[in-house]
Amino acid sequence: MQIKVLSGNEALAYGALQAGVKVVTGYPGTPSTGALTSLLAMDLPGRYVEWSVNEKVAFEIAAGAAWAGQRALCTMKMSGLNVAYDSLISIAYSGCNGALVIYVADDPGASAGMAEQDTRGFALMSDLPMLEPSSVGDTYRLTQVAFELSERVKTPVFIRLVTSIANAKIALEINDSLPPAERTPILERNIAKYTKAGAAICITQHQDVIARLEKASEVIHEMGLNALQLAEKPGGLGIVAVGAAAAYLEEAFDLVVEYGVDKTEVSVLRTVTTTPFPTADVQKLFAHCNFILALEELEPYLERGLHIEAHRAGFTGRIIGKLDDGPLSRVEDYDVDHVLQGLNTALGLGIPTDHFEGNRAAETLASRRPITVCAGCPHRGTYMAINQAIRNLNLGKDEVMVTGDIGCTILGMNPPFNTVWTEVSMGASVSLAQGYVHGGVRTPVIATIGDSTFFHAGIPGLLNAIQHQTPLTLVIMDNGWTSMTGMQVNPGTDKTFQRPGGHRIDLAQVIPGLGIDQFFVIDPYDLKGATSVIEGCLTLPGVKVVLSRRECAIQATRQGKRAGNLRLTPEKCVLCKQCVTATGCPALSIEAESIAIDPTLCNGCGLCAAVCPTGALEKEDET
């Protein structure tokens, strides 16, 4: 055994290794990314780890490996599960050999800026067990349980983390001797199991999936995973807690001591799943307690289950949570105060409101700090060029629809660019744009997307536009990396970074193969050239594709590459601030007499020089 400081993501990775995982696939997505990243950084002979092109592909690969009898893991954020879900239902029906574990990370509080989706709803819909660790330590243990459960019940099993567990770090004791992952693969030909050939097969499989969830419930009970503590004296409060909310229970009990609460008089059920529902333990709680408090983040799935079981058991006591105007919130992530609010209502403690609220007025004085792209980011040039092209055509900014997509490229919605209007899901920019065209918009319609997002789900949208010859301009901002999630390799990343024997897919070859006439490659650091190409596209008929290509500045700098050198002649600077207004570059600041450049940030991209009217800023190309 050894002590390591690990995040929840890393604990999950180590748990999977400890469980003998052989195949790991995933697509990056905050907050789930760290699990697969940590595995890729290890030397793991006999195991296979990859970033796949999207979550559906990743999930199918993991399922194939599990059907071949291996232990497999697939990782994604909640949005990614939506992508994988089509196959997930089918594979849930078939079940698995080996073990198939799906790690999905939800984001209560939306710190990664997407949706507060509660993925537990998917466990209900697919009748698949979903383990919900309440801490980093719990994650290490329950990941191993997930593989065990999957293999024993022959079903895919979810393990669900939230941001505050996935990214929190603690010192954890882990086992450093790993079992071998290698097993002899099996090939099982079984039409009734692996196909959906006819209603009889589908209905039988549906019965199987229901039976497997029942079995999973029994195995969880047998493994003693849920902890039920009944108070000595019956008749008091019973608490059911799951996931991250459960981690604050002890702290909350400490805080209510001064209100006369003795925690030994409270019954507590800590459950590791909402699906399957911990029915047997809940029934014991109903038999022992007079009223119940449900503690869970986001949606009231646990609470609804409690109402159903209460009805069946004839339990008439109050169930406190989020339904019936309960005190708990369906939005944001929880801290101890949420648990305290629950106890306050359940036990009528009369804790004053100011106990829960610090001075919130203070932060309204803080300056807004909208994030923008990094110094030297090639996307900056693309957005400046799109904006300039629109101006050159004497069109107003509010007259030209520019759809946006997921990843760093979405920062085009922020100042100083304010270019992009929409953010929906991976690849949606390309199809949404077509809807605006068919909706009768008379001005040019532009779609923007990053390289990884285009590979992930943008390609079908482009095929559709080409097939139907829907007039639009698609700008693919190709920086060669999946950047926003922390620089993962994607199909277009330079060959040097692909796995040995791997292949790079060049978009400049793929797109002309679709039979498109108007295809242009531009350099976003060349503002004039890029503007003129985009401007041209906005006046041409049919489908136009612009590939705006430059490596991510962070990655280029890490490889010791510079775009050029920037020379500042302060005497020529008239402090017109054009450079700052147009680029918003973090390397620029305004001093008393002149603009200043932070040489540790500037990579010499020259976009500020391109808009400098006096020649105070000049670009010298790297020789």
Binding site: I3, V5, S111, A112, G113, S135, V136, G137, S164, I165, N167, A168, K169, I170, A171, A244, A247, Y248, E250, E251, D333, Y334, D335, V336, D337, L340, H355, F356, E357, G358, N359, R360, A361, A362, E363, L365, A366, S367, R368, R369, P370, I371, T372, C374, A375, C408, L411, P415, P416, M484, I554, K577, V580, T581, G584, P586, S589, I590, L601
Partner: protein
């Protein structure tokens, strides 16, 4: 005993590194510790916060409002986002560096005055320790790392020094960057000796 630290600043100031250093010292000492960093999507220049919880095994990672024994802020405007987490009678250390957002530089948005920020901190009833960024010392002609200086100041001016030993903290800092050991020791020591104002 439990001791919660809420840290706020701007990406690029080294505040997450500072938090990680404290975590290392705590782990080294066998204290239970939870460290939850939250950085925005920007590589640099965005709001950054971290929550450190010492001495509470198995606790959830979030610190409640009015709960932080120490709020450590490294940027004047962002300090305001730490105010609601300050515990009355706790410590609030502000290193008053100013990092203006672009809109402020262009004169399109306001930036809070020092006095208004100090007033807001005092309003939380935490004990204010203000460090003027002009106090950041130079060694051999270059400024020392501000985060290491602020870490030293936290040990010299707040009750963090009663939870962890400054001497051990210094050893952790030196071990983290062996080739900068001398520089960082001087930065930490300067922080330790400086007296902030209230």
């Amino acid at each position: 005993m439990s001791y919660d630290i809420y840290l706020v600043g701007v990406g690029g100031q080294g505040i997450l590194t500072l938090a990680e250093l404290i975590m290392r010292a705590a782990v080294h000492n066998g204290h239970p510790v939870s460290f939850f960093p939250t950085k925005g999507m920007a590589q640099r220049g965005g709001f950054v916060k971290a929550e450190l919880r010492l001495g509470r095994a198995g606790a959830g990672p979030h610190i409640r409002e009015n709960g932080a024994h120490l709020v450590l802020a490294m940027e004047r405007s962002e300090a305001l986002k730490g105010v609601r987490y300050a515990r009355p009678e706790g410590d609030f250390l502000l290193y008053g560096h100013v990092w203006e957002p672009t809109a402020v530089m262009l004169g399109e948005a306001d930036y809070p005055s020092l006095e208004s920020v100090l007033e807001a901190i005092r309003g939380s009833n935490a004990r204010l320790v203000y460090l003027d960024p002009k106090e950041l010392p130079e060694i051999d002609g270059t400024y020392v790392a501000a985060n290491v200086f602020v870490l030293g100041a936290a040990f010299g001016n707040t009750r963090l020094g009663e939870v962890l030993s400054a001497h051990e903290m210094m050893e952790v800092v030196q071990a983290r960057w062996p080739h900068r050991a001398k520089h960082n020791a001087a930065a930490f020591d300067a922080g330790l000796r400086i007296r902030g104002t209230s």
